[in-house]
């Protein structure tokens, strides 16, 4: 347990320090104000100012997922290409914990994305969003970020044995955004599709985010947070096991240092 926690805290701290020095980090933020402008224009054109929160939450969650996917894809590939993966594997640190910690660190990118979306909506359209339930909002940010990091940890395992999986990485975003109701509420989906979207932690996160911005009381906060935690934990467990299994396969085949 100490080893797992050590790997997690090391990865978290390391990623935060590394991101400050890396211009690549901020690429995930570029889309946030642009997406806000597009979505706000659509909402206002159709006379639905009541849906302004969607235009702010969507870019935040999209930045979160994009950053997670980007880092999950690059992290292990870069370590392998730069001769760091083998020394890491020869060390006592738990690689799945380290990767999860680093991806949690990468999730901090969502905070400036949210701020950018709010400021863009306010400055460009004069619509200033109020966070009516700040505690729920903070919890939603935490739970969604952790679940995102856990889910992309599972995806990172794939990149060890299949560097070509970057095609999947590039094409995975839009289906996830649509299915999770990031832009359109899941409640408006056909029943069969809504069921499928509820398997995605992001659909619960998107709803909770938006509810925290609305004046109406937020229902079943604990249950929704627990659901997200459970989905995130399942993804993390699957990801860690897959990572360990794939690493063992790479050790057996001698493919760790190949790129």
């Amino acid at each position: 347990m100490r080893r797992l926690l050590g790997g997690f805290t090391l990865g978290l701290g390391f990623q935060l320090r590394a991101m400050v020095r890396s211009a690549d980090t901020y690429f995930a933020l570029v889309g946030a104000p642009l997406t806000t402008v597009v979505l706000m224009s659509m909402m206002l054109y159709s006379g639905r100012t009541d849906l302004a929160s969607y235009a702010v939450v969507a870019p935040t969650l999209m930045s979160l997922w994009t950053a997670g996917l980007m880092f999950a894809g690059e992290m292990i590939s870069e370590d392998r290409e730069n001769g760091r993966l083998e020394p890491l594997l020869a060390s006592p640190v738990s690689l799945p914990s380290l990767v999860f910690g680093r991806l949690c660190g990468a999730m901090f990118i969502s905070l400036p994305a949210f701020a950018l979306a709010i400021v863009t909506a306010g400055l460009v359209f004069g619509v200033w969003i109020t966070i009516h339930h700040p505690v729920v909002f903070v919890l939603a940010v935490l739970a969604t970020s952790l679940a995102t990091a856990a889910t992309v940890t599972a995806l990172s395992a794939v990149f060890i044995v299949a560097p070509g999986a970057r095609i999947v990485q590039n094409s995975l975003s839009m289906p996830v955004f649509l299915l999770a109701g990031v832009m359109v509420p899941v409640a408006l989906f056909p029943v069969w599709l809504e069921g499928a979207s509820r398997v995605l932690y992001l659909s619960w996160g998107a709803d909770l985010f938006r509810d925290a911005l609305e004046p109406a009381p937020v229902e079943a906060v604990a249950l929704r947070l627990l659901t997200m935690a459970a989905l995130g934990a399942a993804a993390l467990a699957f990801g860690s096991l897959t990572l360990v299994r794939f690493l063992r396969r790479a050790r057996a085949e001698g493919t760790l240092s190949r790129v």
Binding site: F14, P87, V93, R251, G254
Partner: protein
């Protein structure tokens, strides 16, 4: 207890095309604690494969490897906590971080925290001569500086066994000299070192024992002094104006290893015993060849003889 016990170690790589590649073919080697052991061999001989198996990043096909009593397959945690590794080349650091941040990260990877980590990182930066550049990002470092940083990384956990895989490749002469001094210090401190190198002189200078590896097999394991005796057993005779008929006669004399032309009308005859050298000289004098000189081969040339004269070529 031995620091390193390798028994019947084999490693086979399955290839998508062609036959499987047998990189290690039954290696047996014991390295006692505190020994500096040089591992010499041409490219593709199996040196790096051996280092990777010892450091747990590659699984053996068969055989056993124990590091300070810990098995590399069944007790990886025990191996990892007692082993430091420095792979060759200038890759391996986080280029956007400073030297100090890099070492701090690796110290944390080995579970070293707080004041102990700060002190250890400072000591190592000082020891490898990077203290004055500690706050600079590694991306701007020269190849030699990066290799010194890798060496510091390998030492960060104060390991009982240190694996150095081609550690001085690309180092400038001053850095290489400092590195050798550092290995001398580590030997004094009781660290066991397994070092692969192409440089026989370096291996002979630093190692307590030297193993020659070729095509996945250990050719020999001896002290540098014994290897030196091998060198003295070999001699070579250089002569100018040797008729083809005489060259053919020399080639079949007992103890003659090779007869080659080296350009400019020079014939080089290599022998493996003093009697053979004498017989060659006599044959040349009888053939009225007057321009004759005698010399000893370098340590590297002896090594090339031992690995079958394939030189530094990569195995297919």
């Amino acid at each position: 207890m031995s620091a390193l016990e390798i028994t019947g170690l084999r490693r086979v790589y399955q290839r998508k095309r062609g036959d499987p590649l047998e990189a290690l073919r039954g290696i047996d080697l014991v390295v006692p604690e505190g020994e500096v052991h040089g591992l010499l061999g041409p490219n593709g001989a199996g040196k790096t494969t051996l280092c990777k198996i010892v450091s747990t990043v590659l699984l053996p096909t068969s055989g056993t490897v124990r590091v300070l009593g810990h098995d590399v397959v069944t007790d990886t945690a025990g191996v990892k906590s007692s082993l430091g590794i420095v792979f060759g080349g200038d890759k391996g650091a986080y280029d956007r971080l400073t030297a100090r941040q890099n070492l701090t990260f690796w110290a944390s990877v080995y579970g070293i925290t707080g004041t102990r980590r700060r002190r250890r990182v400072g000591e190592l930066l000082e020891r490898v001569g990077l203290a004055e550049r500690a706050e600079e990002v590694v991306g701007g470092f020269s190849r030699g500086m990066k290799q010194r940083l890798h060496l510091a990384r390998g030492l960060v956990s104060d390991p009982g066994v240190l694996i150095l895989d081609e550690p001085t490749v690309g180092m400038d002469p001053v850095a290489a000299r400092d590195f050798r001094a550092l290995v001398g210090e580590l030997r004094g401190g009781g660290t066991t070192i397994l070092m692969t190198t192409h440089d026989m002189a370096e291996a002979a200078a630093l190692s307590d024992r030297v193993s020659l590896i070729d095509q996945g097999r250990l050719v020999m394991t001896e002290t540098p002094e014994t290897v030196g005796d091998l060198v003295s057993a070999y001699e070579r005779v250089d002569a100018r104006g040797v008729p083809e008929r005489v060259r053919e006669q020399l080639a079949v004399l007992p103890g003659v290893v090779s007869v080659t032309g080296t350009g400019g009308g020079l014939t080089r005859v290599e022998t493996e015993a003093p009697e053979a050298t004498l017989a060659v000289q006599r044959a040349l004098v009888d053939a009225e060849v007057r321009d004759v000189s005698l010399s000893r081969p370098t340590l590297e040339e002896v090594y090339l003889h031992l690995v079958g004269g394939r030189g530094m070529g990569v195995d297919p």
